[in-house]
Amino acid sequence: MAGAGAWKRLKSLLRKDDAPLFLNDTSAFDFSDEAGDEGLSRFNKLRVVVADDGPEAPERPANGAHPALQADDDSLLDQDLPLPRSRLSLKADPCASCSRRRERLAQRKAKTRLTIAAVLYLLFMVGELVGGYIANSLAVMTDALHMLTDLSAIILTLLALWLSSKSPTRRFTFGFHRLEVLSAMISVLLVYILMAFLLYEAVQRTIHMNYEINGDVMLITAAVGVAVNVIMGFLLNQSGHHHAHSHSLPSNSPTTGPGHGHNHRQDSLAVRAAFVHALGDLVQSVGVLIAAYIIRFKPEYKIADPICTYVFSLLVAFTTFRIIWDTVVIILEGVPRHLPVDYIKEALMKIEDVYSVEDLNVWSLTSGKPMAIAHIQLIPGSSSKWEEVQSKARHLLLNTFGMYKCTIQLQSYRQDMDRTCANCQNASSI
């Protein structure tokens, strides 16, 4: 199966090239240059703004102390260690307090930046809505709707930051990360409802053609809209240079999982994605400006207004569709896009003394937090080595594949199981 594994790796590398070309609304805020991000099914890439050392902010335990790193198995995260017997994570990090403080500072800075951006977006959006209402122009209001999607992306990031600092409770043993996914879905639904409303109005206008547009106000509002998009583009993209570090999950084993790779390449991909998104925004605003010019100087071409609405609604639908798709996959407990289950199973089977891997389940808590559970059978006679196998498997899952948490059940060899149990047959033939 080595050939198939290599093919899949190649495919995922190729996919990394594809992703930014897609005019994904949230791809603008992709500041990440850590490994594995480009292929991730992130519906909100703004989150990585706050991560200094890892994909997302660390989860705090109940009593408020801060673990230095976010993965379950901290001791293995940043070092090329021989696998320790103990999987506990209280190893003395020489500068744990420094790194924690740095992290907190970075988080706070990112939070402030995001809050400012959110407030600005809100102000501009309300202004554009009012301007569009006064000018009686639907195109301007559709542009404001586009700003709403950006605003909701920022709010979601802030929500995710806040949620990841909430510790899990007994009722929600995983914490509240899923709330981010549900909020993303609801915000996109809201955008779709508003868009349907605008489209309905546009259709009415196209049929009846009995509306008047105030050309002057529309022109002014459209010009302000262009300026706003340019400003916000600079504001949000300039912070991409902060993350010029090269931590990334260590690929200390020769079998690097897919999605690991070349940091410089991801830097350029992230920059390119941000550029493409900013371009898309600008194109839309400029389109509204052109329509405003047309309507101002040639009022008989007022059909340009509904036409703009149609085109931009399509654009918004197109770019947010991926968000809906990703959230639906997460909610259905599906495997994240960047993690091939076959490859993981292969890699686990390659560990010494492993006879079979059953019931490998991979799902996401939220984008960027994959979880895994697996039942591993040992080959006959090696029951005493279960701890080694377990720690190797955990290291593989947590470090190579970037799992957020995993639970591995090891069983001694029972030769009869696979033959008679129907579910084992199901699992092994998947």
């Binding site: 899990p168 090891l410 009869d416 008679t420 047959q425 033939s429």
Partner: protein, 382 residues
């Protein structure tokens, strides 16, 4: 990726339920590939992790029944809608056409439920390792959301009417429409009604050995899609009753036409309220919350009571759907304990006492540092 076939014969594990052997419905690969004779079980308990399997893919009798219920309800709705469209066209009545549109929305949500039910019968794939069971819950959420949206539209229209007060109501047409709507919704509610909480033995029904009594009430053995459709229809029934009441009032006293929007307000609030329990349950499942009738402490105490277990941490419980629950935990064991025995005992206790469909337990050697480890602490009370 198949493990190499075992050299020996096959042992019967008496813990594997005989139900696994039957090919219940299509889409299952349950036929055993090996036909060698079963040897007798060994003296000790042959532990196996698949004692209580996840719900099988394909059409189980329960799902078949749910599908039939939804199809019939959908058909009833379509018939009524067609009748209303024709009648409204003939009578030139806007009210009847509006109600037909409402029924159309109902049909849409029921088709959505059917789709999510069909989806949940699909077998697991590489990208959906748990199978498609969650689609039921997602369909339920979509159904409830569609009810909220329709109610939102109605509230908006009622609000506009109250504001402008320049509408004319034909008492006769409204009465007829309201009567038809009530009948349709009543019929659908009867079709979609499922028997109340049966004495279910946990999550799998009477074919399995009875469970010990866990804390909390029994789960109703209902299908989530049908439950959501039922709640939707119930909400509609409430609204239609309100409209009927208002229309009777307006028929006999045409000057009280404000009764129309007011009753819409009132009964819409009722309808939204009636969706609250379903919404709460569905959201709890989607948020990966612990199952409602399984407490954290009993599970933790059960695990701690297994001989050899010193401490537990990272205990997670979540649901795939309202009736199928999964657990995972890390157990810290004594150095002297036999890992296999501890695993077998812990899994069997968990699965038999709480009805988890699948549990995954990771064993670790107990270390004194675990007492001080911040992340080994238990989560606080919700």
């Amino acid at each position: 990726m198949e493990p190499a076939p075992a050299a020996g014969g096959s042992e019967t594990t008496r813990l594997v339920s005989p139900r696994d052997r039957d090919a219940a419905g299509g889409g299952l690969r349950l036929k055993s590939l090996f036909t060698e004779p079963m040897e007798s079980a060994p003296a000790e308990t042959a532990f196996h992790c698949h004692r209580d399997p996840l719900p099988p893919p394909g059409l189980t009798p329960e799902r078949l029944r749910a599908q039939r219920q939804l199809c019939v309800a959908c058909a009833v709705c379509c018939v009524f809608m067609a009748g209303e469209v024709v009648g409204g066209y003939l009578a030139h009545s806007l009210a009847i056409m509006t109600d037909a549109a409402h029924l159309l929305a109902d049909v849409g949500s029921m088709i959505g439920s059917l789709f999510s039910l069909w989806l949940s019968t699909r077998p697991a794939t590489r990208t959906m390792t748990f199978g498609w069971h969650r689609s039921e819950t997602l369909g339920a959420l979509a159904s409830v959301i569609s009810l909220w949206m329709v109610t939102g539209v109605l509230l908006y229209l009622a609000f506009i009417r109250l504001l402008h007060s320049d509408y004319h109501i034909e008492g006769g047409a409204m009465l007829v429409t309201a009567g038809i709507a009530v009948c349709a919704n009543l019929l659908m509610a009867v079709v979609l009604h499922q028997a109340g909480p049966q004495h279910s033995h946990g999550s799998r029904g009477a074919e399995y050995a009875p469970l010990e009594e866990g804390p909390g009430e029994h789960l109703p053995l209902v299908n989530t899609s049908v439950r959501a459709a039922f709640v939707h229809v119930l909400g509609d029934l409430l609204q239609s009753l309100g409209v009927l009441a208002a229309s009777i009032l307006i028929y006999f006293k045409p000057q009280c036409k404000a009764a129309d929007p007011i009753s819409t307000f009132l009964f819409s609030i009722f309808a939204l309220g009636s969706t609250a329990p379903t919404l709460r349950d569905v959201l709890r499942v989607l948020m990966e919350g612990a199952p409602k009738n399984v407490g954290f402490e009993p599970v933790r105490d059960t695990l701690l009571s297994v001989p050899g277990v010193q401490a537990t941490h990272e205990l997670h419980m979540w649901s795939l759907t309202l009736t199928y629950h999964i657990a995972s935990a890390h157990l810290a064991i004594d150095p002297t304990a036999d890992p296999d025995a501890v695993l077998a005992e812990a899994t069997s206790r968990l699965c038999s006492r709480f009805g988890f469909s699948s549990c995954t337990l990771q064993l670790e050697q107990y270390q004194p540092e675990m007492d001080r480890c911040l992340r080994c602490r238990e989560p606080p009370q919700a």
